[in-house]
């Protein structure tokens, strides 16, 4: 089931209520390739003379690398290159802004290949390129590494302890008033404050406080990281890889290897899922370095085990949430503390988690303090609305308990404290054009919300927020000689964005959708774009596409005026044709095909490129309701029904918007119920495979109903807001709140695995 709730009039500049393509559900342009097996992903390219590259990874979670002896491996026939950290330049300790999050280049390089220390089980220490997979495996086994094994730390609070093993002896806690003198695993303390916390709690009739924790979870994309890279003797590089941004790959490879960006041409393969996890590099710089040494193209593909052990999960966390409210439900104060595991290098999403934690609420007095903590685990990577699901789990669980304490309906409590247009957001800016109230109402009035429940069943509600971003984007539109169009962008299409790009261009040009072919171009063929992430592509790249198409329409009007011998202001562009508005002139309409055929007479080829830095991405709000049944004897949770409402601005292709919502819910349900990194006492991940990591399978889930609330974003030509990230924010708490309803006990620790639930029931 899906519903679209629409406001009568859109405030979007190009939505006149008569859109022909935007808002419809055409078949995606890349669809046939993907249902026939033709689409080429990261591991699907083969080049002549290609070598196989493999990585030697640390068996220890924390060890000093005393020496690496590669001589025996080098002597093995078929081994063509071996690299270690010594093959990479030393990089400065500097932040580099790339898309959704900043990266420290020195840390990035050290994560790609360790130098002095291995900081987690799975950390790359060396890589080989050989003529076959078997030879590469044997070569890895011949590399001799001498380690000085060091004490390790995995849990976030253990890493914060004074006597914890220190990962980086030059890491001093940032964000403190006085610069510390002792190195610490706490990379940073961040704080957001408003009002007077003590006064706020003093005003409260009810105060609720609890502690929560969540486990590290992985994005779980089905396609492992993969690339083919080639560096020629003149230093010119080709990279074919699966990532969320070919320009991100180019930038990071250029920085890590200290070569010119223009010398690297990155061709985006189809990407088999990312969810934020492919917003960084792991293999590409290694493959290029191996290719440089061997003189041959090198293909590298991670195993699933490597994906879990060595690519970014998101943070495990420990949180406390304290809420104060008047008897009528008005929140007077909130105090939130977040401790996030960053993995081996600083950079957990605790900052975003802090900014989103209270973003749905208008609270006069609050404090949010976050800690970014390094641990001997893989460096975290972005995961869909990074950090927000975690802090929402704490805050939304606490809100549920507060509603119970106050005897209030959980949606009514949220409505009472909801942010509106004009509210100053907890993280700073003032909200405009948000559809949060409409989204709450959509769930309150949904039949699901009032449907009866049976024994051992419970219903949970939770809300969620994500900023959505814009950013630097380029798009080009070129018209072929027959009047059909190509849309060229620089953003990998993870979930159907090519369809939305083509639709927006077709709408502006007045062409049928099948006459517009979108492609995702390599880094040498289109201008720079930030990566696909932050729910930015349909908004920001879509803005560039629309403007490029509009520029073409202006040019077509000029060309038509020339051919019709009228002035430009007498030409309109209506449904794909130039129309002379002065009927008395008796000019025949000129279609795009007519104009394309005569482009030689009017100035040459028809095409345009727009580069912009899109601002004004509309923030997104989601409200979810989930029904569960708990088997009281086994602790097993069944998701009976799930409905997710979200303000999407304008659904360009509603099917793919629904798909984003459904996918986000499924990932959130997995995070809530079963997914977790399990480490043994030796700091080794015990469940580095799909068998025991346990993402949801088809039989674990019901249909996921969606309600698309359309409160237009006037900054986007068609009113679009980002949609991909919001839907993973509420489910963790929605599921936990439903379990609370079913068993009458509050579960504060994720995942809500059967043994934990049975133990909670038994605890009485």
């Amino acid at each position: 089931m899906s519903d679209v709730l629409e406001r009568p009039a859109s405030s979007a500049p190009l939505d006149d209520g008569r859109l022909k393509i935007v808002g419809t559900r055409p078949i995606r342009p890349d669809g046939v390739d993907k249902v026939t097996g033709r689409a080429l992903y990261g591991a699907d390219l083969a080049m002549p003379g290609m070598l196989v590259g493999k990585v030697l990874r640390s068996p220890h979670p924390h060890a000093r690398i005393v020496s690496i002896d590669t001589r025996k491996a080098r002597a093995l026939p078929g081994v063509k290159a071996i690299i270690t950290g010594a093959d990479f330049p030393e990089l400065a300790d500097e932040e580099y802004e790339a898309g959704e999050s900043a990266s420290n280049l020195r840390d990035l390089a050290l994560n790609v290949m360790a130098r002095d220390k291995a900081l987690y089980n799975g950390h790359a220490l060396a890589a080989v390129a050989a003529t076959s997979s078997a030879v590469a495996d044997e070569a890895l086994s011949l590399i001799e590494v001498v380690y000085e094994v060091l004490p390790h730390v995995v849990a976030v609070e253990a890493a914060m302890a004074d006597d914890a093993p220190v990962l980086h002896d030059k890491l001093f806690t940032g964000g403190l008033k006085e610069k510390p003198t002792k190195a610490s695993n706490i990379a940073k303390r961040n704080e957001i404050k408003r009002g007077d916390l003590a006064a706020g709690f003093a005003e409260a009739d009810v105060i609720f406080e609890s502690r929560y924790d969540t486990a590290a979870t992985h994005q779980g994309y089905i396609e492992p990281h993969a690339c083919v890279a080639s560096m020629a003797s003149d230093g010119q590089c080709q990279v074919w890889s699966s990532s969320q941004g070919q320009f991100m790959i180019r930038t990071y490879c250029a920085k890590v290897l200290d070569i010119d960006a223009s010398s690297i041409r990155v061709t985006p393969a189809e990407i088999g899922g990312g969810f934020g996890g492919k917003t960084t590099v792991y293999l590409e710089p290694l493959a290029l370095a191996l290719s440089r040494q061997s003189g041959a193209p090198v293909k590298m593909v991670m195993t699933r085990d490597e994906v879990f052990r060595a690519s970014g999960p998101t943070s495990a966390s420990v949180m406390t949430v304290r809420l104060g409210a008047k008897a009528d439900g008005t929140l007077t104060a909130a105090d939130v503390e977040l401790k996030f595991q960053a993995g081996a290098f600083p950079g957990s999403p605790v900052g975003a988690a802090s900014m989103t934690a209270l973003a749905c609420y208008d609270i006069p007095n609050f404090s949010i303090v976050g800690y970014d903590v390094v641990t001997n685990t893989p460096k975290v990577a972005a995961y869909r609305a990074p950090g927000a699901p975690i802090s929402a789990f704490g805050v939304e669980s606490a809100m549920d308990d507060l509603a119970l304490t106050l005897g209030m309906d959980p949606i009514a409590l949220r409505e009472k404290n909801a942010v509106h247009d004009g509210t100053k957001a907890s993280y700073g800016p003032t909200f405009r054009n948000i559809g949060y109230a409409e989204t709450l109402e959509a769930i309150r009035s949904h039949p699901h919300y009032s449907a009866p429940l049976g024994p051992n069943q419970g219903r949970g509600v939770a809300v969620g927020f994500w900023f959505n971003v814009g950013g630097e984007s380029t798009a080009a539109v070129n018209i072929a000689e027959d009047g059909t169009a190509m849309v060229i962008t620089g953003n990998p299409d993870i979930g159907g964005s090519r369809a939305s790009m083509a639709m927006m261009a077709a709408e502006v040009l007045g062409l049928p959708i099948e006459k517009v072919r979108p492609i995702v171009a390599d880094t040498a063929s289109i201008g720079f774009s930030m990566l696909t992430g932050g729910s930015r592509t349909t908004f920001a790249v879509g803005m560039a596409v629309t403007q490029a198409a509009q520029k073409i329409v202006e040019d077509l009007k000029r060309r038509a005026a020339l051919l019709m011998d009228v002035s430009v202001d007498q030409v309109d562009w209506i449904y794909g044709a130039a129309v002379c508005t002065d009927v008395s002139k008796g000019k025949a309409d000129l279609s795009l095909a007519d104009l394309a055929a005569k482009s030689g007479q009017t100035g040459g080829p028809i095409g345009s490129q727009i580069s912009l830095n899109a601002q004004g991405a509309g923030p997104g709000f989601g409200v979810h309701v989930c029904d569960v049944e708990v088997d009281p004897e086994t602790g097993h949770v069944t998701i009976l029904r799930y409905t997710a409402a979200q303000d999407v601005g304008k659904a360009i292709h509603p099917s793919y918007v629904e798909g984003q919502i459904q996918g986000g819910v499924a990932q959130g349900v997995g995070w809530a119920l079963n997914e977790e990194y399990v480490f043994d006492t030796g700091g080794v991940m015990e469940n580095a495979g799909f068998l025991d990591y346990r993402v949801p399978v088809a039989s674990d889930l019901p249909m996921i109903d969606t309600v698309m609330v359309e409160v237009a974003n006037p900054r986007h030509p068609f009113g679009a807001k980002g949609v991909g990230e919001v839907p993973i924010v509420p489910p963790l708490a929605a599921v936990a709140n439903a379990v609370r309803g079913a068993i009458g006990k509050r579960m504060t620790s994720l995942p809500l695995s059967p043994p934990k639930i049975r133990a909670a029931i038994d605890a009485g």
Binding site: A134, T634, N674, V678, V697, S699, P754, R758
Partner: protein, 290 residues
């Protein structure tokens, strides 16, 4: 460099000879759903793979002496397609069909499940409860052994060098008998059993249980035959008191460890829960049989 070798003999004796000659690194291949994973992960060094699927006796289901003979390389999906086998031994079939996905069912075999010697093997508690035996072929000829004698420790079997299981034999079904298997997993599919329980019952004309066998999986290093749990049922009509005794006896028999799949405490409790539920299903099935 270590090299994997592969042969596909067409007789059991050829297979036994090859396995013997291949030494410690030789492995029989039936479905391969465990073996290939172990080879790939490096847990098993490459050696000799002896494919059993070209041996005629190793494939298919035959009815013999009122019971069933199941070739070692018969995939799970073929078991479920066999109407008479499913009617006679529903618990064994549901156990076998719980192993892995549809894709895994297209390959995985009960003999492989047995000889992989995982404490959590789904089909083994059901086979043990069914008093199944297996026909073992080796360099010294053929012998028959009860299925519970095969696994001696996690990943280790009692099979001698060169020996392999060629067939699994399910005995003839007596009247008013039925079995059931249940397992507990965190998801609905695709997981390894956290606990598995097989129950096999025979009733008299009045519905009194005259024979019972209860086998517990994933709560000890090998499958546990819970005799006290079976005794708790015999003489009862599976009333609440009998079910309570069964629960207690099953929990008492369980000797689980805590690991990534579940805590010892949880496993112990669930052994009791599943024993009750499986017994209830088996009882209802037995009542319906002639």
């Amino acid at each position: 460099m270590a090299q994997l070798d592969f042969i596909a003999p067409v007789s059991p004796e050829q297979a036994a000879a090859a396995l013997l000659a291949g030494g410690a690194g030789a492995r029989p291949l039936s479905g391969g759903t465990d073996l290939l994973v172990q080879l790939r992960s490096g847990r098993l060094p490459p050696g000799l793979i002896v494919d059993l699927k070209r041996i005629p006796e190793a494939i298919g289901i035959r009815q013999e002496a009122g019971g069933f003979v199941i070739g070692a390389a018969t995939p799970g999906i073929a078991l479920g397609e066999h109407a008479a086998l499913t009617a006679a031994w529903p618990g064994v079939i549901e156990a076998a069909n719980l192993i892995g996905s549809t894709q895994v069912q297209g390959r995985a075999t009960m003999a492989g499940n047995l000889c992989n010697a995982s404490p959590a093997a789904d089909s083994v508690p059901a086979l043990v409860a069914a008093r199944a035996t297996c026909l073992i072929v080796g360099p010294a000829g053929r012998r028959t052994a009860p299925v519970e004698s095969i696994a001696v420790a996690p990943g280790r079997t009692s099979l001698a060098p060169g020996e392999f299981v060629l067939e699994i034999h399910l005995p003839a079904r007596s009247a008013r008998s039925a079995d059931a298997y249940l397992r507990s997993i965190p998801r609905t599919e695709m997981d390894i059993a956290v606990v598995g329980v097989g129950v096999n019952l025979t009733l008299d004309a009045d519905g009194v249980i005259t024979d019972a066998r209860v086998a517990l999986g994933a709560v000890g290093p090998t499958v546990i035959v819970a005799d006290a749990a079976a005794e708790a049922l015999i003489g009862s009509k599976l009333d609440d008191a009998a079910l309570a005794r069964l629960d207690t006896a099953a929990r008492a028999a369980a000797t689980p460890i805590s690991d990534k799949r579940g805590t010892a405490d949880y496993r112990t409790k669930i052994a009791g829960v599943l024993a009750r539920r499986a017994a209830t299903i088996a009882y209802a099935r037995a009542e319906k049989t002639a």
